[in-house]
């Protein structure tokens, strides 16, 4: 994996143009299927600019991959859906504007689950993303391409989006670092929404420091997103004996728990104060999450009717028949399933039974986190309850939804959570998530930096791809 520091060292002896060219060669030969669209012309032009000393900023000359649900002006943005397979946004997302301002080189748009609905990137219209450590396994989802391109050394930095674990899951499965920022820290302007009240755009990188650096660039005030908190972020590592809570209810299978407990006992306990915390609301989180996410999704995805942009039919028909056919043909199965379930949950007679109840459960989850985080600086748990699955292994949707059990409570509460690699089991990466208080990403990164240092030999492994 390539860190920003390593990339900068390479830039001292090689031209940016050559490095970016090599990167594209690698991507074009790759079996990972991490990218949907490459931004080769612009990327090479920017690399040349960098070589001429014209490209300035915090990320000058550094390649960044952008998840394909984040709008890029003039560059196709598909959400990995047939519905938007030819959609070219006329504007940049806020985070993309920030990347450009800081001289980053956007190399392409990464593969994902269709409209970010999935945990394995198997629902993509453009095919599954493969795990850089085992090509027969998934890279996680929904930001599978962003995780895989880092694990497979096809980019240095990447942006993902996290609605219920979509950054942390692929970070965990691909052995990289990924943050779901506090709700409101990063502007969502330009992020094609799946579930607005839950999701955030977040940084993904090959080490904690790079992840923090990318957050510094993308966080901050944006009046176009009314839920934006107007805060900036600057990483200033603190060295303290943090009080760390291990969440009792968040577990995993033996493979995962073995590794997680080993790290807790060998690294966390000797260096920090460790307590066990309980989250009684945990059992409500998964159903509440899916009801809220699907409800919002059913409404968000109503705009895809084949009238103004995206998938359309040649043959005109009556309005109802036309848009129904567009949607039947343009959306994949998982998207249709979630739209139907969300529509049902919001329907008269069921609203109180499902949606309102889910909102109440959400309040309980939030309170649990607030209580636990009053006592602890950070909370830790395995990011995913299992190792990366074989492609096609999770055929049943319910089994797949259950894999989000550790990640979704964080989105319900809105608190920040970082997934970092803590080692390998059976040759596959395992991730640990570190949860912090609202807008205390600095504490999370500081703690993560310590764990990363202690585990340096364990996690710096190269993928097979």
């Amino acid at each position: 994996m390539i860190t920003v520091k390593e990339w900068k060292e390479r830039l001292e002896s090689e031209s940016c143009y050559d490095l970016i060219s090599e990167l594209f060669d690698r991507i074009e030969r790759s079996k990972l299927n991490a990218f949907i669209t490459l931004n080769k012309d612009e990327a090479l032009r920017l690399a040349e600019e960098f070589d001429r000393g014209k490209l300035k900023g915090k990320l000058a000359g550094i390649p960044v991959a952008v998840k394909d649900n984040i709008s890029t002006k003039g560059l196709r943005t598909t959400c990995a859906s047939k519905m938007l397979h030819d959609y070219v946004p006329p504007f940049d997302a806020h985070v993309v504007e920030r990347l450009r301002q800081e001289g980053a080189i956007i190399i392409g748009k990464t593969n994902m689950d269709e409209f970010a609905m999935g945990t394995t990137t198997e629902t993509s219209f453009f095919g599954v993303v493969r795990n850089p450590f085992d090509l027969e396994r998934v890279a996680g989802g929904s930001s599978g391409g962003s995780g895989a391109c880092l694990g497979g050394e096809e980019s240095v930095l990447a942006l993902g989006s996290d609605t219920g674990g979509s950054i942390r899951c692929p970070a965990s499965f691909c052995g990289v670092v990924g943050l779901k920022p506090t709700y409101g820290l990063v502007s969502r302007y330009g992020l094609i929404p799946y579930a607005n009240s839950l999701e955030q755009i977040g940084p993904m990188a090959c080490c904690v420091e790079d992840c923090a650096l990318l957050l510094e660039v993308i966080a901050g005030r944006d009046w176009r997103d009314s839920t934006n908190a107007g805060r900036e972020f600057e990483f200033r590592p603190v060295d303290r004996k943090f009080r760390v809570g291990v969440i009792r209810e968040m577990g995993g299978n033996d493979d995962v728990m073995g590794k997680f407990e080993e790290v807790v006992n060998d690294i966390v306990r000797p260096n920090f104060e460790v307590v066990e915390v309980s989250m009684p609301s945990f059992m409500f989180a998964l159903p509440a999450y899916y009801i809220i996410a699907m409800s919002e999704a059913s409404s968000n995805l109503a705009r895809y009717d084949g009238v103004r942009y995206g998938y359309a039919l040649e043959k005109l028909d009556t309005w109802t028949r036309y848009f129904s056919k567009v949607r039947a043909e343009g959306f994949g199965e998982e998207v249709k399933r979630r739209i139907m379930l969300g529509t049902y949950a919001l329907s008269a007679g069921y609203y109180g039974k499902y949606y309102l109840k889910a909102l109440k459960a959400r309040t309980l989850v939030k309170r649990d986190f607030e209580r636990a985080l009053k006592d602890c600086d950070v909370l830790i748990a395995p990011t995913m309850p299992a190792l990366p699955f074989r492609i096609g292994e999770l055929a049943d949707p319910l089994t797949m939804y259950k894999m989000d059990v550790n990640t979704v409570p964080i989105n319900l509460a809105g608190v920040p959570a970082l997934s970092i690699p803590i080692g390998f089991v059976k040759g596959l990466p395992v991730g640990m998530q570190i949860i912090g208080r609202f807008f205390e990403e600095n504490t999370i990164f500081s703690f993560a930096l310590k764990i990363e240092e202690a585990l340096r030999d364990e996690v710096q492994r190269k993928g097979v791809a």
Partner: protein
């Protein structure tokens, strides 16, 4: 089929009025300008009002302030906090597949509008006032039934709308019309609304007759339409009841060409809008905005009526009419600066208003064609007897139809009144040249005087005052 006209207690009418806050500068959730009426379709659009993926709404604070202004003027209770919700349904004019509206946390609750009916003053009570965005506009080539396709103009998409919902307290189509007229006057006073623009006010009317189901008539786009649709609908429902049939609860459409209502969908087919809070917006706390708005609330019609009477000494009959249109009241006040207010009131209300009505115009047009200072000058000439009443009216007509300079018009048309000495000279001339008529008059034929007056009128081409001339002639003949 007989149309219901007078008040009937068994008829129950409630209205939902959609009002465009079309005097604002920008749309409700984006910064696209609202002055699109003269422009090409789809030129006042952006990612937000086109519903492009990833675009996010931002509440226009000025629109919320305007809405609060309306709520205060309608005596409604502005809620401490208010929430936007999504109203979900599919339609090609709705770019997001949902409309951002308000559901269980509207901007304001309650309120009333006072109307003057033949039975006296009546308060039409309001249920609620909420904010929402206007959808785009569909255009069909030919008619809606024969067109092969329809065109969509999104210039209107995102225009700030207020939905004002009354309690079901009206009992005749006329009351409904009086309510809408008064509402329009109030909105124009607040300077948030221009009722002359296309689609500025659209009405959904609920009507039922005791014992029957409630029928909703959707999207009536004119005041006359509301009265006609209600009259038709009441007659239809009465006929059904008379025949012993049931009035089913349903939604109907008003066909403005044939003046009838036609069934759109029954209760079973009612849409489920699946309202839920708009997750891209945050609740609005109104306290601060409310304070800001309170200081800017203009004088409302009732207050103005009292002030005009007190300040200018004009009668209530004039004051009542003047406040019906804020522009007319303003016009009057400017005229009254330069000339006797009582004279100004009667001329503005009785003459100028009539001349404008006749031309299908309002006082905005008067401001353009016959400025208040010019009108005041004309009335001053009249007061000084330099021009006759007939002359004033003629100048008004010429000014409204062609424009021009007041003095020039009077001069070129010879409208300046004839001086008294000249009239007296012509009277003497009439007597001298018409000995027979004089003899007839003296012989008791009083009608002969008319002949002499006619002579003077002819000589002055009608500019002499006939009554005055008759007086002079009589006096001369009796000497």
């Amino acid at each position: 089929m007989g149309y219901a006209t007078s008040m009937e207690p068994d008829v129950i009418i409630g209205l939902e009025v959609h009002v465009q806050l079309n005097k604002l500068k920008t749309k409700l959730f984006c910064s696209c300008p609202l002055d699109y009426h003269e422009d090409e379709p789809n030129t006042h659009v952006c990612p937000v009002c086109l519903g492009l993926p990833g675009a996010m709404p931002v509440v226009n604070k000025e629109a919320v302030k305007a809405a609060i202004k309306v709520a205060l003027a309608l005596h409604a209770e502005v809620q401490p906090f208010t929430v936007f919700d999504r109203k979900n349904y599919f339609y090609p004019d709705l770019p997001k597949g949902f409309q951002i509206s308000q559901y269980d946390r509207p901007l304001a609750l309650g309120g009333y509008v006072t109307i003057e009916t033949e039975e006296g003053e009546k308060k039409i009570t309001l249920k609620r006032i909420h904010m929402e965005e206007d959808p785009g506009k569909l255009t069909y080539k030919g008619s809606i039934t024969t067109a092969k396709y329809c065109l969509i103009d999104y210039n209107r998409s995102g225009v700030p709308l207020l939905e004002i919902v009354t309690e079901p307290v009206m009992h005749s189509p006329k009351e409904a019309r009086l309510f809408l007229n008064k509402l329009r006057i109030i909105l124009e006073y607040l300077d948030v609304f221009d009722g002359s623009l296309e689609g500025a006010m659209r009405v959904d009317a609920n009507v039922s007759i005791r014992g029957g189901g409630r029928v909703e008539i959707k999207n009536i786009s004119s005041f006359k339409g509301v009265e006609r649709a209600l009259s038709y609908e009441i007659a239809r429902q009465k006929n059904l009841l008379r025949m012993g049939r049931k009035v089913e609860r349903e939604t109907r459409h008003f066909d403005e060409v044939n003046n009838i209502t036609v069934s759109l969908r029954s209760k079973e087919e009612e849409q489920d809008y699946r309202y839920f809070p708009e997750p891209d917006l945050v609740p609005i706390y109104t306290a601060e905005l409310l304070e800001e708005v309170k200081g800017t609330l203009p004088e409302m019609p009732e207050e103005k009526r009292e002030r005009l009477k007190a300040q200018y000494g004009i009668g209530d009959n004039f004051a009542k009419v003047l406040v019906l249109d804020k522009v007319m009241a303003d016009y009057f006040e400017e005229v009254a600066k330069h000339v006797d207010p009582k004279l100004a009131a009667s001329w503005v209300v009785d003459v100028l208003r009539g001349e404008l009505n006749y031309r299908g115009k309002d006082f905005r047009f008067a401001y353009e064609m016959l400025k208040p200072e010019e009108f005041a000058k004309l009335l001053r000439y009249f007061r000084e007897e330099r021009i006759t009443e007939k002359g004033v009216v003629e100048v008004i007509r010429i000014k409204l139809d062609h424009g021009g300079d007041v003095d020039e018009i009077i001069r070129s048309r010879g409208l300046f009144a004839i001086p008294k000495e000249e009239i007296e000279r012509l009277c003497r001339e009439a007597i001298e040249k018409n000995p027979k008529a004089v003899a007839d008059y003296k012989g008791g034929k009083k009608k002969a005087l008319d002949f002499l007056v006619g002579y003077v009128m002819k000589a002055t081409r009608g500019r002499a005052n006939p009554a005055e001339t008759a007086q002079i002639l009589k006096k001369m003949l009796e000497e």
